[in-house]
């Protein structure tokens, strides 16, 4: 049994378009800081 990430699930359910999924993935990529950067910020 494979797992689908939530965006893929919504796409296959017809709830979102592929452009909406791409926009969300791009947005997620922009706002998620690398773990090293978050650790550095905590340390400072």
């Amino acid at each position: 049994m494979s797992t689908r990430f939530f965006g893929q699930y919504l796409l296959e359910k017809g709830r979102i378009t592929s452009q909406q999924l791409l926009d969300a993935l791009e947005c997620q990529n922009d706002i998620t800081a690398p773990i090293g950067a978050m650790a550095w910020n905590k340390a400072c």
């Binding site: 494979s2 296959e12 378009t17």
Partner: protein, 131 residues
């Protein structure tokens, strides 16, 4: 190219004959029809030029040239090609990469009939293909 029955024509590309048969079976009794199959990226490029299908279902992991390379080559040949990538690797990074390179959508294996039909219908609606 629309089929004689007024269905949307599909070129299915996968190196697994079982998968090609499964796709054709799942699209039976729908608005879509697999009019040709290819088992490699190079064969897909040839068949696409011959048939000009309305949709392409394109597997990513294949010998010779990968599905991603095939996607780029198909879009170089026809910027209007409607290509839906298919893979068992459904990682967000892979999906984003395919969509950014011009794929119209993404399907994850194992294929589920309802999901596949939803995605194909969605692509048709977004790109002006009448169903």
């Amino acid at each position: 190219m629309m089929t004689e029955k007024g269905k949307v024509s599909v070129l299915a590309v996968d190196d697994s004959k079982t998968m090609l048969a499964m796709i054709a079976a799942q699209l039976k009794d729908s608005n879509f029809e697999v009019v040709a199959t290819a088992s490699s990226g190079l064969e897909a490029l040839e068949k696409y030029q011959q048939i000009k299908p309305q949709l392409v279902l394109l597997d990513i992991v294949m010998p010779e040239i990968t599905g991603i390379d095939t996607l780029e080559r198909l879009l170089q040949a026809d910027t209007g090609a409607r290509i839906v990538m298919v893979s068992s690797v459904g990682a967000e990074e892979t999906v984003r990469d395919c969509l950014k390179k011009g794929a119209k959508s993404f399907l994850q294996k194992p294929l589920q009939k309802e999901g596949m039909l939803n995605i194909l219908k969605n692509v048709c609606q977004q790109t002006g293909v009448e169903l």
